[in-house]
Subunit: 308 residues, 2 copies
């Protein structure tokens, strides 16, 4: 599991940073890529990575501001042009469906794959399968905006084969029963409880990806104990007033959320073009007294999220 | 007057060529830039040029395929963000207004300037002022597609001041009357015809910019005696069958149009990603026996169009 940042800027593209998009790479976990926001030229950024558009299984849109959605019709068309045929689901605030459908209809684009929309109106779980659960919660932006919490389910413990062999239990169907946690009586009369032969489960990872927002309680719930929190930092530490007026956060506010939610790592994105070079890196240094594991990410930066 | 190519590829962006857009730079003529088509990431390409979005006065869309329009909402938003306040007019086939308006409404983008739409349904003149006339004609593409002919009006001849001075005619209001072509009686009784004192007018330039099309008669009318013809060349010389099936042209068909229309120069764009490097340059070499002044253009190439 990795996050690859495709656009880490705010508002308009600059030479340094494209507008918002990031890829949550779940290639080992589910042979798939999930995108979060698709600003204009996201498909152009993807051309410079190893990501194959046909692998994109889900797209989560935080909100409908142009710098978060204007790359969507082009990406969807190119995925089709490149022969993608697997279904794709787009999650996002009400309006995302109309926007995409009008763009595809007017341009007479016919997609080679089924496209599904899940428009969000309330907080709650929006997806669950055998390995992942995703929930969304409304943030505090000028326009409806959702943050996403992606929870990998715990990996069940492995069967401790060496321990069974040491006890002279021969391999066979009994191994499967023990692994399933059943109690088994062996031909020689011994009774074994599967739970005694299963290692500790491995905790699933939690990734929280927020959209544009003022500091808000919902962010804490979404980010609680996350391995990684991706949080906007449109403004610097001392610009709380500006941040409030424009419905955004400062780097300090992001760090406070990270601290209170006890996350593992805080990644700052949605960096305004007014912070270039060192001034951008400073956004993180300035708040390490609040939350040490903070960094400002760049376009094309890839962050690995290992199992603990 | 120059043409700067912003995207010369077909269908999807590649590392070599972005999707369609070009700028007709009329900075000397009217302190303005006219864009033709706005594929995705046109605003990103513009970041790498000297073009200032606020100078864009008119946008002409040939047709609504995604590779020609998906950059429009982003460009319009950024022009506003950068403080553009001059009106902007968009010309294009029916549907362009709905597409742009839905994108701006859904993203809650409020523009800082008046935006006007002229939706084209018939062939004919679509703009005329003191210095330029633009006419449009329907081409033969799968979707409604227009080609544009931009005619600069002739520059009237200069008043031949030396000739008047040699005749001892003193400077004064009479110079203006003569320049306007009037017949004037001087205080000393002499009668002068303004036409005798005005140099030859300078021919205005003609630029023809076609959208995607099969070979069609309309192209000839639009291109007649143009200084520059910009013509798509999605397919190579020998691919007439493919070109027909996909509603496109070969480089040979473009060259035939250039020859018959007796244009000054043929610029081939809308180059498929299957032709890279030498294979792309070849598209022009292969047809120079039909029309010698042919070249394949690249992204960021600028072509000067001098007065004759
Ligand atoms: Zn926003
Ligand atoms: Zn087309």
């Amino acid at each position: 599991m990795q996050i690859e940042f495709l656009g880490t800027g705010a508002g308009s593209p600059s030479k340094q940073r494209n507008v918002s998009s990031l890829a949550l790479k779940l290639l080992e976990e589910r042979k798939a890529i999930w995108l979060f926001d698709v600003g204009e030229a996201t498909q152009h950024q993807i051309l410079r990575t190893t990501i194959r558009p046909r692998k994109i299984e889900k797209i989560f849109i935080t909100h409908l501001h142009g710098d978060h959605i204007f790359g969507l019709p082009g990406l969807l068309s190119s995925r089709s042009f490149q022969g993608g045929d697997e279904p794709l689901t787009i999650y996002g605030p009400k309006g995302i469906k109309e926007y995409v459908q009008v763009a595809l209809r007017v341009s007479e684009s016919r997609l080679s794959y089924p496209l599904k929309f899940v428009e969000l109106t309330d907080d709650g779980e929006i997806f669950r399968d055998a390995t992942f659960t995703v929930s969304a919660k409304r943030l505090d932006h000028k326009i409806a905006c959702f943050g996403y919490r992606i929870e990998e389910h715990d990996h069940p413990g492995e069967l401790q084969v060496e321990k069974l062999q040491a006890l002279g239990v021969p391999a066979g169907p009994v191994y499967g029963q023990l692994k399933a946690g059943q109690t088994v009586t062996l031909p020689d009369g011994r009774t074994l409880d599967g739970h005694d032969f299963i290692g500790a489960p491995q905790k699933g990872r939690i990734v929280t990806i927020l959209g544009d927002t003022r500091k808000t309680k919902a962010a804490l719930t979404l980010a609680a104990h996350a391995d990684v929190l991706v949080h906007e930092s449109t403004f610097a530490k001392n610009e709380a007033r500006l941040a409030h007026n424009y419905y955004h956060s400062t780097s300090a506010q992001a760090a406070q959320v990270a601290k209170q939610a006890q996350v593992g790592q805080l990644l700052l994105n949605h960096i305004s073009a007014r912070y270039v070079g060192k001034a951008a890196t400073q956004l993180a240094y300035q708040v390490r007294e609040i939350f040490p594991a903070t960094r400002v990410v760049k376009d094309f930066e890839e962050i690995d999220i290992p199992l603990k």
